[in-house]
Amino acid sequence: MSLRQPPIEHSAKQTDFGGWEMPVEFDSIRTEHSAVRESVGKFDVSHMGELTVSGPGATQLMQRLTTNDVGALDPGEAQYAAITDESGIMLDDTVVYRLPEARDEQFLFIPNAGHDEQMYDRWVAHRDQWGLDAEITNRTEEYAMFAIQGPDAPALLGAETPLDLGEIDRFELAAGSVAGVDSLVARTGYTGEKGFEVLCPWDEAATVWDALACQPCGLGARDTLRLEMGFLLSGQDFDPGENPRTPYEARIGFAVKLDTEFVGRDALEGVDVEGPAEKLVGIVLRERGVPRHGYPVQTPDGEGIGAVTSGTMSPTLGDPIALAYLPAEYAGSEESVRVVIRDEPKKARTTTPPFIS
């Protein structure tokens, strides 16, 4: 199977991610990471899916397939949500955008890389099953998507657009031109910094990318930045096959609105009442070593209590950090635990993400 290609040929080290060949590192992860924390960096995230949903049944279809309250969105607003199955297990996480009124489509949502076709099929199947009047289009290879992130992002992007970026609050979006190209500009991101995501036509992507003159960043820095914030990575921190988890276990209960009707609601109501047995917990190592996906987590006595889902060396802290599902009593605690790295239990303590303030 050949890999899907982003709209721009980048001179960077490449990696296979979700069926796409994407830049992983332009300069060094450390350089790219600190550019975003201290000034500004740009990411080509065109591997993220883009699906639009329109028509009289669009709101109901979105409401019933995502966990957050789509009905609360005004045009130009966005929200984070999970997509769950009947058992409340997360299939993916996504951002749902209610598009500005000037656009023909009503909703745009962003599944993770490689999930666009699966979500398209899911949306079509449920539309037909429920007899809703809605048009669903997979625009993944029509829209390029760039993230411009960091404290200097408003100044950099502001110089290339007539939009008043100060008017776009967190989780809001507006339609406008960027470098002369018709785009959508959303104040969203995956780094914890101030920043924007720009969606523009695939074949005009290079014009926008080149106009935004700042440090290009790859998926390597994207991972260290999101991990310092404790943001989830679909397929790694939860996966319906390998690591089935509910939004409550994954600490994103804030994106579940049980007073709305959606697939998985009834199962999640039960979990909400009982409380999940395990929760995603942050871990900071106190010894040298890098925790990585799958490494066992133990009590100081050597009793197995979980496994690392994501881990890295935090470039900001200079400490090794990790996420792991542990028994729920560890959530909100500062307990001593061990992370087993190459058969060596390394001293660590639990914490509540984000790892940086």
């Binding site: 590192e25 992860i29 450390r30 390597g220 890098v290």
Partner: protein
């Protein structure tokens, strides 16, 4: 991109170098290898007095994105380790053939060096 391949070293195809100096052989990883790994954050080395065996792992190197075994280009006894790498592992990125060295080995058999790749052979491998 072209990488430095000093003529005074011999090479293992897993990207370690060996350089003879003052009766021991200094060992590290090549410029190509550190670039492939990216930001090095942790190096685990043997202690002075330990034995290492050619083509067997003697330690571990971790970058932000990957973990990799280190393979000994020669067999012998470790006489010194580069303790600076404990606190500044990024020396491996900054100066892989100099301050980023890893261990010094007293060889069991000097002729073992002849089995390693010459600079020209190694250059060919990474091109």
């Amino acid at each position: 991109m072209s990488f430095q391949v000093p003529d005074d070293c011999r090479y293992l195809d897993s990207h370690e170098w060996a350089r003879q100096q003052n009766g021991t052989v200094r060992v590290g990883i090549t410029g190509f290898a550190q670039d492939e790994l990216g930001d090095v954050v942790f190096v685990e080395l043997p202690q002075a007095g330990d034995s290492v065996t050619k083509d067997e792992d003697f330690g571990v190197i971790e970058s932000i994105k990957a973990v990799s075994d280190l393979y000994a280009p020669v067999s012998g006894t470790v006489r010194a380790t580069n303790d600076d790498l404990l606190d500044t592992p990024e020396l491996v990125n900054d100066d892989p053939f100099g301050d980023g060295w890893m261990i010094e080995v007293e060889l069991d058999d000097e002729s073992e060096l002849d089995d390693l790749l010459s600079p020209a052979e190694y250059r060919e491998q990474i091109e």
